[in-house]
Amino acid sequence: MAYSDKVIDHYNHPRNVGSLDKNSAEVGTGLVGAPECGDVMKLQIKVNPQTNIIEDAKFKTFGCGSAIASSSLATEWVKGKTVDEALAIKNTEIVKELSLLR
């Protein structure tokens, strides 16, 4: 199976890789997956308490190329959105954007 150009681009040039201060009150950290399943994703967002806007997002992912690309894209999409807007993003939209099901 060959990956789409978008997946390859995110894999080669991942956006927003890194970590935010997990002890900060403005930072939320999510960790999903399990090493034995071959996928672990850590996604962090920094939310402005006044505006509820996600001002920064960072990720680190252990997983295959599509897992890395999906998390990279997700950080791009949630940045600048309010938390409610970010919650409205569907996994199928990410699948579509990256042409993961072909």
Binding site: Y3, I8, Y11, N12, H13, P14, V17, G18, S19, L20, D21, S24, L31, V32, G33, A34, P35, E36, C37, G38, D39, V40, M41, K42, K46, D56, K58, K60, T61, F62, G63, C64, G65, A67, I68
Partner: protein, 422 residues
């Protein structure tokens, strides 16, 4: 406070002179044909196209001569006599013929078969099918180095055991089983011993008499011959082993494998065996040196890198390494100018990582992080150096991306984490 990780720009090692990309280092999957093999085969497509079974004209005789020369070369490589070599379509067919052939022929004597969990699917799935027909199969575990425990084998044998089938060299980790000892055990108890020697023949010395083995499966395309052809060695004395055929027809190959012989490919198999026999001493030394160079080139520059399987009992060209905290498929994606294999589930049709590595007790997370290198006749030192450099660079980059690596560096015991699967 945010810590930005600099993953860019990618540092691509310079491609040295004499290295052509992509590099093929997956010689356990298949090998390129040796040009000498192709040259030997060519006349048998058009000039000597005869049916080797045509006994009454020169076209048949020419084909038969080619086949019989090949049979001598195959026999010589494994220390057998020519009458003990049966040509097949490859090692999968040879495994099927050996296991099903013995199961049917020795049914009155017993119904118990012993194999191991790290065998190739051609053996495991054949055994599984026989279970449906009333055979009992013991799947021996292996030790952490990949070797079968001889005491376990002894304990598994009973008065209904008719066949032991254990591979000579493993296709993923290159680990060599103690074939001579297993053969001795089998012969003491009058049990037929089959070994899938696909990865071993042509790479390391294989002597069927020294090893007390009764049946071995051989493939041409793992030793620089053509695909779609192989052989089965069938012992004719001490003891004489009999097989029920699985392909019936014109009674070719002593009735054990009917079907017009694939003459050009058989000629190729023979030539491949002859070359392997001549080159083996220097070839195995050269590959061992290349393997050491690759191992050092990787392990001297990366921490938390683990070798899977015994280094002592191993094929010269095999290296199987797990790179902790990096998923195998993403690693392959990062080294896409190098052809190797991974034990990661993402690279296979199943969702489970390599069952061979799991059987060693490697743990799923390290099995997902494994890469198999298969060095072969046409790999060079320059290629090995390039591959090692590319791997070190890519693993380092992916570890910067890995939450597991970060957690481990923070001193978190990953085993203590309660993982939330989706």
């Amino acid at each position: 406070m945010s810590t930005e990780v600099k993953t860019l720009p990618q540092m691509q090692p310079v491609v040295p002179d004499g290295v052509r990309l992509p590099i093929y280092m997956d010689n356990h999957a298949t090998t390129p044909m040796d040009p000498r093999v192709l040259e030997e085969m060519l006349p048998y497509f058009m000039e000597k196209f005869g049916n080797a079974a045509s006994r009454n004209h020169s076209f048949g005789w020419a084909a038969e001569e080619g086949v019989e020369t090949a049979r001598e070369r195959v026999a010589k490589l494994v220390g057998a006599s020519t009458k003990e070599i049966i040509f097949t379509s490859g090692a999968t067919e040879s495994d099927n013929l050996a296991i099903k052939g013995v199961a049917e022929m020795y049914r009155e004597k017993g119904n118990h078969i012993i194999t191991a969990v790290t065998e190739h699917k051609a053996v495991l799935d054949t055994c599984k099918r026989l279970e449906k027909y009333g055979y009992r199969v013991t799947y021996l575990p292996v030790q952490t180095d990949g070797l079968v425990d001889l005491d376990e084998l002894k304990r598994a044998m009973d008065d209904k055991t008719i066949l032991v089938t254990l591979m000579w060299a493993n296709n993923e980790i290159g680990v060599l089983q103690p074939i001579e000892e297993i053969g001795k055990l089998c012969h003491e108890r009058g049990v037929v011993f089959h070994s899938d020697a696909t990865q071993a023949v042509g790479k390391i010395p294989v002597d069927v008499n020294k090893a007390n083995v009764d049946l071995i499966s051989i493939s041409a395309h793992k030793m620089y011959g053509p695909k779609g052809v192989g052989a089965l060695y069938v012992r004719r004395k001490n003891p004489r082993v009999q097989l029920a055929a699985i392909i019936d027809g014109g009674g070719h190959e002593r009735g054990m494998r009917s079907g017009t012989l694939n003459v050009p490919s058989i000629v190729g198999l023979g030539k491949a065996c002859q070359i392997c026999m001549e080159d083996m001493p220097q070839e195995s030394k050269r590959l061992t040196a290349l393997r050491t160079r690759l191992k050092d080139g990787i392990m001297n520059h990366l921490d938390e890198v683990y070798i899977n399987g015994s280094m002592e009992h191993r094929l010269p060209g095999n290296l199987n390494i797990s790179f902790a905290y990096v998923e195998g498929e993403s690693l392959l994606m990062g080294i896409n100018d190098i052809a190797v294999s991974s034990g990661s589930a993402c690279t296979s049709a199943t969702l489970e990582p390599s069952y061979v590595l799991k059987a060693l007790g490697t743990g799923d997370e390290l099995a997902h992080s494994s890469i198999r290198f298969g060095l072969g006749r046409f790999n060079t030192e320059a290629e090995v150096d390039y591959v090692a450099a590319r791997l070190v660079e890519t693993v380092s980059r992916l570890r910067e991306l890995s939450p597991l690596y970060e957690m481990a560096k923070e001193g978190i015991d990953l085993k203590s984490v309660k993982w939330a699967a989706e």
